[in-house]
């Protein structure tokens, strides 16, 4: 999985390409742990992500929790095409 990050001041944009599963989510988690300092908004672009498993969702939840501490928000850009993981929105947004 590739992580492409763009920082615009305190807005962080992370574009993920590939699969976000048990093995690859620690990578994202690790990256976020390092780079969430002073971030006011986080946007995750999943246009190029074919697969997100519950491990990936946990990373999002973790990110969400961390940002919530500082009053920041998390935005996920989920492609509206017939991507397979589109069927999971309800689960992924469970909170």
């Amino acid at each position: 999985m590739e992580i492409k990050a763009t920082k615009n001041g305190d807005a962080l944009e992370v574009a993920l390409s590939g699969r976000l599963d048990t093995n690859t989510s620690p990578d994202l988690e690790g990256y976020l742990r390092e780079n969430l300092e002073g971030v006011a908004s986080l946007a995750i672009d999943l246009a190029d992500t074919q697969y997100v498993s519950s491990a990936g969702l946990r990373v999002f939840l973790f990110a969400h929790k961390e940002l919530a501490k500082v009053g920041a928000g998390l935005r996920c850009a989920i492609p509206t095409s017939t991507s397979p993981t589109c069927s999971t929105p309800r689960v992924s947004r469970k909170s």
């Binding site: 093995n23 697969y51 519950s54 929790k65 069927s87 999971t88």
Partner: protein
């Protein structure tokens, strides 16, 4: 004179030559047909032979002076008539010519006298012959054979007549004086004696010998040389020989003691002659009477009986064939009136015949009855055999099931049955049953039980209820108190779930998780015993490649000559041998990648599908049948043998992975081809990946707490294109954990614990069927997903 008796061995319609043919010089039963006209060779040689013999005998005895002159002991006088009687004209003339020659040599008579003597001799030689054949012209056996008293008497009479005639003629011819009368009388007596004591045995010998008598033209019956002498013949010949010897002895004694005086010698001999002549009458007369009685009362009835016996069975058979019912069983007496012991013999023979005919009739009826019964049983067997399914092609095409059945009754019909039929949309039912007993009663009950079970299994969803209802019906109108053990299961061909019910039947062999064992099920009571019994359904999950083998106790209780039983253990071993052998063979046959025996750390991706190589249901059934037959050997089949096997025949792809997260990529690589193909979508693939990741990661993270060795995880996948679904099995050796035992609850994101949680939700949402079992220290999770 000749009584009309059946001849020995003379069967009608056997080789009778053309009428009018003259028999030739060969035994009738041997030689081929001879030309119609006799050649000149035989008569000439006969003539010559008779001539030589006669002359030799005549001259020989003439040389002895005591035998001549007045005494005239001339054995030659027997030869003429006998040869004439037997050989005909050659014999007559041969002897007469020899006599002529002798006369020429000794008598010194005029040619006129010689001619006269010659003529007289011819007459003497020929008279017995023509007289004999004239008397016997109409007789069925005209030949000179002394097989009856009457024929013997005829010969003796002819001998007497011939001697008297010839001597009278000679007396007149030579114009002898009345004083020489006694000497003629003596001559006459000599002739009679010789004809009797020498002629008769000679004739007997000639007739019994290889030569054939030559009859005159008016005789048309061909000569048959009968090898065996009958009682009369034997009696006559021995009597004659005995009396001849006696006479000879007396003569010798007398001659020895008589003085050399010619006169007294002659007187002695003359006296001897007269005495012998006189004695002959009282000797031979009783003989005839006795012989006649013997013939009438004993010999002839016995001959008649013997002849009748020879053709009795033949006649009976032909009468039966032609349907005649009025045949005479008793011996045809043909005019004889059996008396004394012979009458007893006739009676007992007739009784035996009647008893035998009755016996044969009864036997025939019994056989016909048995034949009828056998035919009916044949039809019954046909009916029974066609009542159980043999052709499973339609089911095999529609569902991924490999099915094989086998049934062999111990008798023509039996009490076992099996059945296979569709239930609902995707269920297939397998039923097996065993009625108590064997043969026709069990077969009748079997037909009832089979149709009842089928009916209720089709109508009722729950198998326990189906059995309960069927049982109630079977208990009704069961006066013969028969019962039946039965096992039935319904396979859901989409999910692999198998529901079953058992009524006292031996549990089937279950092939599960690569192992063979007996299905654990409650025994239940037999059907047809008590109508208040309630049955309950059980169930288990079947994975692709797994199956059941149902059987009846005719298999496990097959006995060999030593009365050992085949047994359940041997059954398992026989089936296990099949799988073990074939799997190794399959590994070799499928391409190059070799799967190591125990996959410890190295992960190997399964090489394609190997399910087709596993033993098919038919192979299992065939090998089991062969094994039971080999075990039983010569011992007769004690009970009906029935088997029904099925296997969920989906190609199974297998993968073994170490229990580590990093292997997840390999798992996805394994899933990819399975989720591609007809009916499957990328969406489905993603769903499968999600679920599999959850399951696999759970095992890795929580299956092996510290200290536990991390054992590999086995994954099996099978695609059922026809049913449009996909089956997955995860089998791990971690600690006991049932992921389905927790509710799919709403997860608090703050909830870090992974017991239950999102994973379970995903599994339940995306998979259509989930089953968990724990067996042999393994957690086994089976999942089914319909194509999306």
């Amino acid at each position: 004179m000749e009584s009309d008796r059946p001849e020995h061995n003379e069967m009608p319609a056997t080789a009778v030559r053309d009428v009018g043919e003259v028999p030739v010089a060969s035994v009738a039963s041997e030689a081929p047909q001879a030309p119609l006209r006799p050649g000149w060779k035989r008569p000439l040689s006969v003539f010559a032979a008779c001539f030589i013999v006669y002359l030799a005998v005549l001259e020989g005895f003439l040389a002895v002076p005591q035998f001549n002159d007045i005494v005239q002991i001339r054995p030659a006088s027997a030869l003429g008539p006998v040869f004439g009687l037997f050989f005909g004209l050659p014999g007559v003339f041969g002897c007469a010519t020899a006599n002529l020659v002798s006369d020429i040599l000794h008598e010194g008579a005029t040619p006129f006298m010689l001619a006269g003597y010659f003529v007289i001799q011819v007459m003497y030689n020929g008279l017995p012959r023509w007289a004999w054949y004239l008397v016997n012209a109409r007789s069925p056996r005209p030949y000179p054979r002394f097989d009856s008293a009457s024929k013997t008497a005829l010969y003796m009479a002819l001998a007497l007549v011939d001697s008297v005639c010839v001597n009278l003629v000679v007396y007149l011819f030579v114009g002898a004086s009345p004083e020489s009368g006694p000497s003629f009388a003596t001559r006459g007596l000599n002739n009679v004696w010789m004809l009797l004591y020498i002629g008769l045995p000679l004739l007997y010998a000639l007739e019994r010998g290889p030569l054939t008598p030559n009859p005159p033209r008016w005789i048309h019956v061909p000569y048959r040389n009968i090898k065996k002498a009958n009682l009369t013949q034997r009696f006559v010949i021995w009597f004659v020989i005995a009396s001849a010897l006696l006479m000879l002895l007396v003569s010798v004694v007398v001659i020895a003691f008589a003085s050399g005086d010619e006169e007294s010698f002659q007187a002695v001999v003359r006296t001897m002659f007269h005495e012998v002549a006189i004695l002959t009458v009282p000797i031979f007369l009783p003989m005839f009477v006795f012989l006649h009685i013997l013939e009438r009362r004993f010999t002839r009835p016995i001959e008649v009986l013997a002849l009748d016996q020879q053709t009795f069975i033949e006649r009976m058979e032909s009468d039966v064939e032609q349907g005649r019912r009025d045949t005479c069983i008793a011996v045809d007496e043909r005019g004889t009136k059996p008396r004394y012991e012979i009458a007893e013999l006739y009676e007992s023979t007739n009784k035996m015949r009647r008893d035998m005919v009755g016996f044969i009739e009864r036997l025939y009826n019994v056989t016909a009855e048995r034949q009828r019964t056998a035919t009916e049983l044949d039809v019954a067997k046909q009916i029974q055999m066609s009542a159980v399914p043999h052709d499973f092609d339609s089911l095999t095409e529609r569902f991924a099931l490999d099915i094989a059945g086998f049934m062999r009754p111990a008798r023509e019909v039996g009490g076992d049955f099996y059945d296979v039929f569709e239930v609902g949309e995707r269920g297939v039912a397998f039923v097996i049953g065993d009625v108590s007993g064997k043969g026709v009663p069990a077969a009748l009950f079997m037909m009832r039980a089979q149709s009842l079970l089928r009916q209720y299994l089709l109508e009722t969803d729950d198998l326990g209820t189906a059995f309960t209802l069927a049982n109630r019906q079977l208990c009704e109108r069961n006066d013969a108190m028969l019962f039946v053990t039965a096992f039935a299961c319904v396979v859901d061909t989409a999910t692999g779930e198998v529901r079953f019910a058992n009524a006292g039947h031996n549990p089937p062999v279950l092939k599960q998780n690569g192992k063979l064992g007996y299905l654990a099920c409650r025994p239940g009571l037999v059907l047809g015993a008590m109508d208040v019994v309630k049955y309950r359904e059980g169930s288990f999950a079947c994975s692709p490649g797994e199956g059941l083998l149902l059987y009846t106790d005719g298999v496990s209780e097959a006995a060999n000559a030593a009365e050992e039983l085949y047994g359940e253990d041997r059954l398992l071993q026989t089936l296990a041998k099949l799988d073990g052998g074939v799997v190794q063979g399959a590994t070799a046959s499928t391409a190059q990648d070799e799967r190591p025996a125990s996959a410890d750390d190295s992960a190997v991706v399964a090489n394609g599908c190997r399910a087709a190589a596993a033993s098919s249901a038919q192979t299992a059934v065939n090998s089991l049948v062969a094994s039971v037959d080999a075990f039983a050997g010569e011992a007769p089949q004690a009970d009906d043998i029935t088997m029904l096997a099925f296997r969920w025949n989906l190609p199974v792809a297998r993968l073994t992975l170490p229990a580590d997260d990093v292997e997840l990529d390999n798992l996805f690589a394994f899933l990819e081809p399975i989720c591609e193909g007809e009916g499957r979508t990328p969406k489905m693939m993603a769903q499968m990946m999600l679920v599999c990741e959850e399951v696999f990661v759970n095992i890795c993270h929580y299956g092996f707490p510290d200290g536990q060795p991390r054992l590999p995880v086995d994954i099996e996948a099978a695609v059922d294109e026809r049913a449009g679904c996909l089956h997955l099995v995860f089998s791990d050796q971690g600690i006991a954990y049932d992921p389905l035992s927790h509710d799919a609850k709403k997860v608090d994101p703050a909830d870090e614990q992974r017991k239950g949680g999102l994973g379970i939700l995903l599994m339940r949402k995306y998979m259509d069927d989930l089953r968990y079992t724990r067996a042999d220290g393994r957690n086994i999770l089976r999942m089914t997903k319909r194509f999306v």
